[in-house]
Amino acid sequence: MKEFTYTIKDEIGIHARPAGNLVKLIKGFSSAVTIEKEGKAPINATALMKLMSLGVKCGDTVKFSIDGEDEEAAAKAIEEFMTANL
């Protein structure tokens, strides 16, 4: 299992567009991925509407947990995506 945290820098936070793209990215891997926002229960990162409804805003820190055969690659790809888009 791999874990990392990321603090959102985008002004609007995880809104519809990046959420959709993130889900698309994660679905391309076989690993199970969860996202946890501080103070809330972790959710399955491929659940688009739940992800949007987390209401992750600029300055919030989220924790990703990635578990599965391709966790290395998945973690790297997710981290890159977050840095570039959020």
Binding site: K9, H15, A16, G20, N44, A47, L48, M49
Partner: protein, 545 residues
């Protein structure tokens, strides 16, 4: 005659008959079923059909309202595929043994409620998206699908609210305007209306819908948000005139959109826009500018409490470059001084800030600030067509120092394995008489010049821009200034560089011909001046006179 007040979201006038929008899909009833598997199949079949429809709408939206606005429909497709949403529908069908329509409707309410209860206006607006996809799904389960108006006459569509997909699905040729009783100016629908150039008023209130019926005469004023039901003769006359005036203005601009900036004798020139923040990109595109000739990077520093990080700057620059999709974007490096104070820079007070410690002088004295900006710029260069421009240049050695810094930054990025574009153009502002006078020495070092006429005028005429008393001494068409520009243009061209003007004089239509005759290659002006300037350029014949 009755008048209703809403919010105008697109400024134009429409006069015509009302057509009340109906969704065709009747209320969903709860029915008990025996065969859940069959209902699940119906859901799957409807989903496939809905996705097909959404893909078609997405294509239509791409053509009519552009990629950024079309994206919502891609998100709709993904929402339809959402695991929780689908699990919920399946669960309700299987455990309650009810029809598919009902299961979708209940799921829709639950998810919409989840978004509506969030304390964030953006997310609240997403509950409309959930309802939109659910209604589509339900409509796809019954025959017919979405019904459209049959008559050939153009109508004013009136609805309680319009979902984005409904707005785009409306046949543009049959819609004069639309009015909704509810809805926010933040909604996708409002944004889409603006992009489709359809007069629209939203939030006209429930009373409005109740008081009209199909075929009623309406006037919709998208400027003021007023709606007249059964208008009297005078009002109709007044609005007909207003409509004609609008149409004339719009036609003129529309005629110029997409046209080249070319003189009667065939000389082409680039017309770009000046902006001071990411928010203005919309108006750059709306006014059909060929690129951004001056992007003032100061806003990043002014809006920040501390030095903006490389990451913050990179994100902003990248956003601009991506939004401009391959069109030229010239970003000017930090241009502040004692007159444009930023607290955390801790600049000393100066008696004469215009001649003081400012712009490139700060950057060369405090290279750590400069390096951060250059790294962010070069990283962003991989995402579009970037030009980097240095302000307040007076000497060859300053330019050489800037270039050396650029080389260092590029080497760093290379060894860090970070991409950047080798095609990034480097230019300098010609805004001091010194730079203009030695432009023959400066031009071989750079790809382009951009003349900052405001400062060039103030330094050449020794007239402080801020001093109102000097106004009668400032001749903006002073021959000294024009000669310096001409000299710079000649020296640029001899050395294979191009030259633009990004100061206020660029928008002075009485000088356009003079600049064209000097061989100026680019004029960069505020977005609203782009089309008037284009009109002027297209009327000039350099072979005459």
């Amino acid at each position: 005659m009755t008048v209703f007040q809403g919010k105008g979201v697109y400024g134009a006038v429409a006069i015509g008959k009302a057509s009340i929008f109906s969704r065709g899909g009747a209320d969903v009833r709860r029915e008990s079923i025996d065969d859940p598997a069959k209902e699940l199949e119906r859901v799957e079949a409807a989903k496939a059909l809905a996705v097909e429809q959404l893909e078609a709408i997405h294509d239509k939206a791409l053509k009519e309202v552009g990629e950024a606005n079309a994206e919502i429909f891609e998100i709709h497709i993904m929402m339809l595929d959402d695991e929780d949403y689908n699990d919920s529908i399946r669960n309700i069908i299987e455990t309650q043994k009810v029809n598919a329509e009902y299961a979708v409707a209940v799921t829709s309410d639950n998810f919409a409620e989840m978004f509506a209860s969030m304390d964030d206006a953006y997310m609240q607006a997403r509950s409309a998206d959930v309802k939109d996809i659910s209604n589509r799904l339900i409509a796809c389960m019954s025959e017919g699908g979405s019904g459209s108006s049959e008559s050939g006459e153009k109508m004013i569509v009136c609805a309680d609210d319009l979902a984005p997909s409904e707005t785009v699905s409306l046949d543009k040729d049959k819609v004069l305007a639309f009015v909704t009783a509810f809805g926010s100016s933040n909604s996708h629908t409002a944004i889409l209306a603006r992009n489709m150039n359809i007069p629209a008023v939203i939030g006209a209130g429930e009373e409005f819908l109740k008081s009209i019926s199909d075929g009623d005469m309406l006037i919709v004023d998208g400027h003021t948000g007023e709606i007249y039901v059964d208008p009297d003769e005078d009002t109709v006359k007044r609005y007909t005139e207003k409509q004609e005036a609008d149409a004339k203005k719009k036609q003129l601009l529309q005629e110029l959109k997409g046209k080249e900036n070319i003189t009667l004798d065939g000389t082409k020139i680039n017309v770009y826009a000046n902006i001071g923040g990411v928010a203005s990109i919309g108006s750059v595109l709306a006014n059909d500018a060929g690129g951004i000739g001056l992007f003032r990077s100061e806003f990043l520093y002014l809006e920040s409490e501390d030095y903006p990080t490389e990451e913050q700057q990179f994100t902003a620059y990248r956003k601009v470059l991506e939004s401009m999709a391959g069109k030229k974007v010239i970003i000017r490096t930090l241009d502040i001084g004692a007159d444009k104070q930023i607290d955390y820079f801790k600049l000393d007070k100066e008696d004469n800030p215009a001649l003081g410690f400012r712009a490139i002088r700060i950057c060369l004295t405090r290279p750590e600030i400069f390096r951060t900006q250059l790294r962010a710029l070069y990283r962003a260069s991989a995402f579009g067509n970037l030009g980097i421009m240095f302000p307040m240049i007076t000497s060859v050695s300053e330019v050489k120092k800037c270039l050396a810094m650029c080389e260092e930054v590029k080497k760093e990025l290379q060894s860090d394995g970070i991409k950047y574009s080798e095609d990034t153009e480097i230019g300098i502002m010609i805004e001091t008489p010194a730079a203009a006078v030695i432009s023959d020495k400066l031009a071989p070092l750079v790809d382009f010049f951009s003349v900052g006429t405001n400062d060039l005028t103030q330094y050449t005429l020794a007239c402080d821009r801020q001093n109102a008393k000097l106004e009668s001494f400032v001749d903006t068409h002073h021959e000294a200034v024009l000669r310096l520009i001409e000299m710079s243009a000649k020296n640029a061209h001899v050395n294979g560089a191009w030259i633009g003007i990004c100061g206020e004089l660029g928008a002075d239509l009485t000088l356009t011909e003079t600049f064209l005759r000097m061989g100026i290659d680019e004029l960069s002006v505020s977005p609203p001046y782009v089309l008037p300037l284009r009109e002027k350029i297209r009327s000039i014949d350099l072979k005459q006179g």
